[in-house]
Subunit: 483 residues, 2 copies
């Protein structure tokens, strides 16, 4: 049988695992510094927990699990009928499938919070780092199984949480990327709702959000035409005034490069909007944004903040502040431009579907796979720091008499926290050295009769190829310096 | 809708995650000290990779994934026919399901080694810590989703690997359990094969292994009758001689308590067996055991070793040394006695099914869930060391004017690696303190006008309830001592 992983899934080699774990552990460290606690939920959820939460398209992308022991069921005719219904159109039969793999970590978290509401002290800050599954058609950079890395606070609508999350995002990206590589876009759904109301398109709010969302992806030359056309399609009022404001904004946008400049430009845009629209909703959204932006220590940021009217985020459940982090375009070639490496926002009623209404929350989700791709493209992984080799030293014994001495040396080194491998058998030294080179051990420690009798080891530095006989104490010192 | 996790699955609270991670990280640390490198494989495998590897019962326990877009298929009549076949008896239709969740980590590892054989330098030592899924009927201590924690070496038949694995097992359990709490049983399948041959039951080897396996679970009074009866059922030759040896062994077994006594008793048993059977296979197995036992530093073990003729292990693919760790019976009440917390062994041809024959390997698998249960029962988790509270300090600001000062203090503390939470709003101090007590923060730091003006914080020790105004430097010092 051919050995082959399933389509759209990935195996990770030791080097890949170490690099991925470096990203995950960095983010996890900062989650913990901000007071988030870890939880874990199972990969398998009841199908009813998941369906209807991600829109029709999302429901199609659930990996559904076939009920076990179908053949033991007594209702074979009923089963056949149910199966035929499934063939005709998208339809879930509990007799055939009643479970699925989780699609994200947010809905299982909402389920968790609702299920354990009586034992949780709110506000509750949790982080969760686990894989999720989507039956997407596989393509470059899109996988059927990938890890999400989420932090959420539920049980308070305090904007302090948004301020803290922005600060957390900054701290995590500061450790992963050079200064000013990442831009964090911010917007507020209340501003978008206010504009939609002013333009009398609240009934088509998600269509309107879709138009706004595409502003970011459209070339400047086609911009005015696109906007006018789309707005007239949904019968928007006040669209001339809106287009004028946006066009004015777009002409200036290219000149703003720093957080301060971005905020100034956004302020003037909002002033125009407020003056023309006189919308209370827009004002509330703008005030929330200003409250958050005012309290962030802008002098000491590694990321660049950009309040951005065109940020919309796909998920329907957002109701307040929304976030999205991207790599700054100028830093990269076309391949990684535009892919979001973090998203998030405030939602006001996510647990309502589980009979636990009125719980406001806000959360962020780091995209490990995309962060990995960007870090690889920018050569940001430090191979030495990641200890990609199997151990600091490979010990080799020259005859069977030396085996026990070698084993006891390995034991003493490991007690000191040093990673030690032992070559698996007595072999020609040339062959051992080739093996050690291939596996990139920094040192080989050779143990023969002379070393054994005098309590020494012949230490070979695999980079310089120099070799010297040294004592155990000196060995520990040198290897500790390697770690 | 009721919020409910799927039957047989578990949610893990922050406290449970921290305890589980403590176990996992301890084992992982020792895997790394012995030169094992991490890999990861996807949860979803092609069904053909998994079926036929775990026996008929195992195949029944696979969680199979329904193909997506069934309703788009053109062959509806064929699909219906296939589904009817599935209803009649266990049968996999690739049209309905072609993927499943992995059942263990060993088969995916064999698939990985075979798939990437050209880029791997052998011997290859890998560890893998990931969940697996089994559609078992849920019961106490048995879950449908659980984590396995495996280390394997493939590409050499050197017994040094067995020696190193025993040493690794000792080091990991030394850190998790008090001295002499865990007994590691060892046996060699070659000894069992030799006995089976001597007794002319090689054709029913797995039935014979089943009998041997039950020796451990049978009361002494019924022992002789059971053994004679079962052996006569499979037409065993030389069964009187065998029963005599085993009975002789069983009468002495209770007196052996230490590794040295266990080995001595086993030696005499093996001498009897070799004398009466004159079997070459038994001799090979005994020699391998002796080679391994001789090279282990028995003076410095935390676990107790017990070579045990009745250890058989369920999996058919083992061909050499086999391992199983249990809690020493006398240490525990009946509830946790007898549950294995680690298993493993040597296999000679696991990758053969993936067209990569002749690769010998040996591996072990730690049972995280059972280790957790035993540690809980023995109160071995150190809550303080696990930092189960959300942060070292909860900062509170008394008015909106103090918010920025509070945020900047949080930032400076986090830069020092201290975990800091900020209470989400201005509130009555009594309410804040109740919240802090519930969440078990060791310290609350209060920031009001006076503290802000003088650059101080009022630090309350939540255990002693004492409160004092201190400088930032003193604060860092005190909190670092808490970590």
């Amino acid at each position: 049988m051919k050995a082959q992983n399933a389509r759209g899934t990935r195996d990770f080699s030791p080097e890949e695992v170490k690099k991925r774990n470096f990203i995950i552990q960095t983010i996890q460290k900062h989650f913990e510094r901000y007071g988030f606690l870890p939880i874990e939920t199972p990969a398998i959820e009841n199908l009813s927990t998941l369906t209807g939460k991600y829109g029709e398209e999302g429901d199609q992308l659930l990996f559904k699990i076939l009920n076990s022991r179908l053949h033991e069921s007594k209702n074979k005719d009923v089963l056949k009928q149910e199966f035929e219904k499934m063939l005709e159109k998208p339809y879930n039969s509990e007799l055939i499938t009643e479970r699925a793999l989780r699609y994200d970590l947010t809905v299982p978290f909402a389920r968790y919070v609702s299920q354990y509401r009586h034992t949780i002290t709110f506000p509750f800050k949790r982080y969760q780092i686990q894989p999720v599954w989507r039956a997407d058609r596989p393509q470059k950079g899109r996988y059927r199984e990938f890890v999400q890395c989420d932090a959420d606070v539920v049980g308070t609508n305090s904007l302090l949480m948004e301020i803290e999350l922005v600060s957390l995002i900054n701290d995590a990206f500061e450790e992963l990327f050079p200064k000013e590589t990442i831009v964090l876009k911010l917007n507020n759904r209340k501003i978008l709702q206010g504009i939609a109301e002013w333009m009398k398109v609240s009934d088509h709010f998600y269509s309107f959000v879709g138009i706004i969302d595409r502003l970011d992806k459209i070339d400047y030359s086609e911009f005015e035409k696109f906007l006018k056309n789309e707005l007239s399609n949904i019968n928007a009022q006040n669209s001339d005034a809106f287009v004028e404001i946006i066009i004015n904004y777009k002409t200036k946008e290219k000149e703003a490069n720093t957080t301060i400049e971005n905020i100034q430009l956004w302020n003037s845009l909002m002033n125009d909007l407020l003056e023309k629209s006189n919308s209370e909703d827009i004002k509330t959204g703008v005030d929330e944004m200003k409250y958050v932006l005012d309290r962030i220590d802008k002098e000491d940021l590694s990321i660049i903040l950009q309040p951005d009217i065109s940020l919309a985020r796909g998920l329907n459940y957002y109701t307040g502040m929304i976030f999205e982090a991207k790599v700054l375009q100028s830093k990269f070639d076309a391949d990684v431009i535009g892919s979001s490496i973090l998203g998030g926002g405030r939602y006001d009623n996510l647990t309502g579907i589980f009979d636990f209404p009125g719980v406001s929350g806000v959360g962020i989700s780091f995209g490990i796979d995309r962060i990995y791709d960007v870090m690889e493209a920018l050569h940001l992984f430090d191979d030495k720091k990641l200890n990609i080799y199997p151990a600091e030293i490979l010990l080799v014994y020259l005859s069977n008499e030396d085996e026990k001495y070698c084993l006891s040396m390995a034991k003493r080194l490991r007690k000191q926290g040093i990673r030690v491998d032992i070559y698996h058998q007595v072999d020609k030294l040339k062959k051992v050295m080739e093996y050690a080179d291939k596996k990139k051990y920094p040192y080989v420690g050779i143990v023969g009769e002379e070393e054994r009798i005098n309590g020494l080891v012949s230490l070979k530095n695999m980079q310089t190829k120099q070799q010297e006989k040294i004592s155990f104490e000196n060995l520990v010192q040198q290897l500790n310096a390697t770690k």
